[in-house]
Symmetry: C2
Subunit: 312 residues, 2 copies
C-alpha cells in the first residue's frame, strides 16, 4: 500500500510532517510505502537533517501550496500543481491508496467530495470526532460540521458509517448507537430528531440504544453519537476547549489531557470511496504519525469496502 | 411584594424549601413577604423545627401535589388543588408577584405559558441558563430546551430578552450578544443561523458581536449566547456534566465547582408577563434561597416591564 502525505499542509509544515514520518518509520508496524508530496528540496533537506532512512519513502514534487485561508474551490481549480490537488489526482487514479493532509480543510473536503466521490448510495459524506471517555474508552460523534442541515436519512447513514468505523478502527465489537437529543424518551426532540428516531430503531445494521443527552456525551452510554453537523460541531469545539481550560487551570489531569485533540491526528472523511484524512492545522509530529497509522488501518481493514456493504 | 413558593416541588420537599426560606430570612436584603404553598401541617412543623420566625411568612394550604413524572397538562387540569395549580391561580390573579417551584418542570412551563401568558409580541417564551466563565464572569445561554425548533424571529427575540436579563439581573451594562454557530464569518451555519444573522445585525436593541463557536461557550467572548433549544439543551447538559466529571476526578477546582448548577437556584421563564422561576428537582436550601432572591430582583427591577419595552 502507498499512503500519500501532503507535506505542505498545516502550521508547522513541512518540519512536523517529516518528524511524524520519522516516528512512523521507527515503529514496528510499518506496512506502507509513503509518497511525500510537496517541495522536494525542502523535504529532502529535512529528511536528511532528521536522519530519516530513505526506504519506504518517495517524493513527488509539488511546486504550489494552497494556503490555509484560500477559497477551497477556487484554489483547487487554479492551483493544479499544489500538493493537495496532486494528492487527489494520485488518489483518484489509484497511484496512492490514501491521502493525508493537515492543510486547508475546505480544499480537502472539496477534493474528497468531488475528486474521489461518495460511496454509492451515500447522500453526503461526513466527518466525525473521537470523544474521550472517563473510563478510558473512546466514543465517536458525527457529523461534526460538514452537514449543518440534515435529513433523517442522512443521520441514519451516519449511524451506519459510524458503527463500521467504531468496529473496525476503534475496535468496539457491537457499537451502541445513540441519537443526540434533548430527552430520553422516544418522541422527544426537534423535528429532525423525532423523524430520525424511527429510522434508527428499524435499522438492522446498527445497535440503536435510543436517545442520548448532553450529559451522556462524555460518558460511555453510546459509542456512536449521531447528530447533524451544527450541533456536532458545537459539541466538538466545546470539547476541544476543555483541554485549554484544564491547561489554564493547571490541572494536568489525565482525563482532561485526552481532550488535546492534536494527539489524535485527524479525521477521516467517511462515506467517500477512498481513505482521505484531514488533520488539524496545528498538527505536530505525533498527529502526523497517528494519521499515517490511521490511513494504514483504513486500508488494511478495507473500511470503505465494509461501509459500502453495510450501506447497500 | 409577595413571592409564592411551591413547598411540595423538588426531590427534597418540603424540607429544603423550608431551609432555603430560613436562609433568605436570615439575610440582610429581605424585601418580600413569602407565601408558602403546600401541605400546611408539614410546613408548620418544619418551620418550627428549623426555628424560622413567622414574620414575612404566610401559608396557603394545598392538599394535592403534582408528582415529578406526571403528565404536565393532564396533572394541571386534574389537580386544581395542587401547589403548582394554586400558585399559578394566585399569580394570574395578582395575589402573588412571582411564583417559584422546583417541582414538575413540564407543569411549570405549561402553567407559565397558559395561565400567565406571554408578553405582548413574544412569539414563544424561553428558558435560559447561566454559564460560568473562567474569568469569574457569567454568561447567559438561551434557549435551553423549550423551543427545539425555532424561526429566526424567535432567536432575535431571545437576543433581546437575554440582553435585558443580562443587564438587569447579571449586571452587565452592555451585554455582547453572540449567535451560536459553526464558524465566525457571516454566512456560516445552518439555514436557521444564516437567516438569523442579518436580523441580529440590524437589531438596534442589542449589541451584536457576530457568530460564536463551541469553543467560545466557556470564554467571555459573548455575554448572551443565542441558539434554538435543541443545541442549547445539549450544551447545558454537557456543561452540567462537567461538574460531575470534576467530582469524579477529585479535582476540587474552583472553576469546575461553579458548574454545580444546583447553586444557581433555577431558571426564570423569560417572555411571560410575570416572574415564574423553575428550580432543578434536586434543589437544596441554597438553591431555594437563590430563587427567592432572583424573584425579588425580577420584581424590584421590573424585568418584565423592561422586556415589554424592548420588545415593542
Amino acid at each position: 500500500m502507498v499512503i500519500g502525505i501532503d507535506m505542505m499542509g498545516g502550521d508547522y509544515a513541512p518540519l512536523e510532517a517529516v518528524k511524524g514520518i520519522g516516528l512512523y518509520l521507527s515503529g514496528h508496524t510499518i506496512q506502507a510505502s509513503l509518497l511525500l508530496i510537496g517541495d522536494r528540496p525542502a523535504i529532502e533537506a529535512l529528511l536528511s537533517e532528521q536522519a530519516i532512512p530513505a526506504d519506504h519513502i518517495k517524493i513527488m514534487h509539488a511546486e504550489q501550496v494552497i494556503g490555509m485561508h484560500e477559497h477551497p474551490t477556487k484554489a483547487l481549480k487554479e492551483k493544479q500543481k499544489s500538493s493537495i490537488a496532486i494528492g487527489f489526482h494520485l488518489l483518484a487514479s489509484g497511484k496512492i491508496d490514501a491521502f493525508i493532509s493537515a492543510g486547508n480543510t475546505g480544499a480537502m473536503l472539496v477534493g474528497a467530495l468531488f475528486s474521489i466521490k461518495a460511496i454509492e448510495g451515500v447522500i453526503r459524506p461526513t466527518i466525525s470526532t473521537i470523544i474521550p471517555r472517563m473510563n478510558g474508552a473512546t466514543g465517536l460523534l458525527l457529523d461534526v460540521g460538514i452537514n449543518a442541515d440534515c435529513k433523517p436519512e442522512q443521520l441514519n447513514q451516519f449511524a451506519i458509517m459510524g458503527s463500521v468505523y467504531a468496529q473496525l478502527i476503534l475496535g468496539i465489537e457491537k457499537p451502541k448507537v445513540g441519537l443526540m437529543n434533548v430527552g430520553e424518551e422516544e418522541g422527544k426532540g426537534n423535528i429532525l430528531a423525532q423523524a430520525t428516531y424511527p429510522l434508527l430503531k428499524e435499522n438492522k445494521h446498527i445497535h440503536f440504544i435510543g436517545n442520548i443527552e448532553g450529559r451522556d456525551v462524555l460518558t460511555d452510554k453510546a459509542d456512536v453519537m449521531v447528530c447533524e453537523g451544527f450541533t456536532g460541531n458545537i459539541i466538538l469545539k466545546l470539547a476541544e476547549s476543555l483541554y485549554e481550560i484544564a491547561q489554564a487551570q493547571s490541572l494536568n489531569n489525565a482525563y482532561f489531557n485526552r481532550f488535546d485533540f492534536e494527539i489524535y491526528g485527524g479525521t477521516p472523511v467517511l462515506g467517500v470511496a477512498k481513505p482521505v484524512i484531514i488533520g488539524h492545522g496545528i498538527s505536530g509530529a505525533r498527529a502526523f504519525m497517528n494519521m499515517i497509522h490511521l490511513a494504514q488501518q483504513m486500508i488494511e481493514k478495507d473500511l470503505m469496502g465494509k461501509m459500502k456493504e453495510e450501506l447497500s
